[in-house]
Assembly symmetry: C2
DNA sequence: GGCGAAATTAGACAGAGTCCAATTCTTATC
DNA sequence: GATAAGAATTGGACTCTGTCTAATTTCGCC
């Protein structure tokens, strides 16, 4: 289950209010733009790149600048609202699913699919380097069409 | 053990000849530039970005263009001479170690360290998506200075 | 409503990587 | 060793993602 559930019966103003709550709960002051960006991510629950977020948010009429999208995504990552997924050398994806999980990455189509973290154990990891602490474990399985 | 061992006693012309052999063995026609790029990677055995390779190759006097470095690194990846390591959203690293292994990535310093693949088992991986085959498994442990 | 702080903005900028048409090199053949 | 055909290399313009900045707008609070 995730931070925001988006059932079909939620009235738009209630959705905005509940997104506002979620932002506040994570120490993020809610603004129009941040709420729209959060909605773009949480209502889709897929992995979006910054420019996909920009396009989604400005779909009807432009309201949010590129700078704000980048600022906000960075802020959301810091505050733990979304996770960065780095699998593609040309752009970063943002993942509204923050529970521990891993990814399939289709190198041909660019498609990213979640792998539930519960089912996976990684055995035999060596000790972390001296004076370091873990900041995240990303397991990425690259796949392509079978011949 | 790796494709090319570089002991201190190897004469430069022998090193070039043996790199030539390695390239041919992987279906890559040897040229001056490709040999120099291979040497930059294999003599260091560390993870280099494209522009670090460019700088290394042109250290004494410029001899190889940016386009060639990019073309060649892509070719080396296709032919299995080096592996791409995608951990940093701003640049790709190239890893001359092609045996199965994983990486520590220090998010503060950018340092990349190998984790021997022999010691690690990943349990519980789900079936690959329909019609897909694995193209690589990358486990990345992000680390930072402990508080 | 008004004020100070925080957020947003347009657009210039930076850096990694790509593309292209012209040139140069490799290699196979003689 | 010379030649010709194909392969590789080149500079430089270009694209794209992401950053920066100074000016403006909005937010939260009294």
């Amino acid at each position: 289950m995730n931070a925001v559930s988006t059932s079909a019966s939620v009235r738009p103003e209630d959705e905005r209010a509940s997104l506002s709550e979620v932002l506040r709960a994570h120490g993020v002051g809610p603004t129009h733009q941040r709420i729209e960006i959060a909605r773009a991510l949480f209502s889709r629950m897929t992995h979006l790149s910054a420019d996909q977020v920009l396009a989604a948010v400005n779909q009807r009429h432009a309201e949010t600048s590129k700078a704000t999208v980048y600022n906000t995504l960075k802020l959301f990552v810091e505050k733990g609202l979304v996770r960065e997924v780095i699998v593609d050398p040309t752009k970063v994806f943002y993942d509204p699913n923050t529970s521990p999980h891993h990814h399939f990455y289709d190198v041909e189509t660019g498609e990213i699919t979640d792998i539930d973290g519960d089912r996976i154990s990684i055995l035999g990891l060596p000790a972390l380097p001296e004076g370091k602490m873990a900041a995240g474990v990303d397991l990425i399985i690259r796949v392509r069409s079978s011949a």
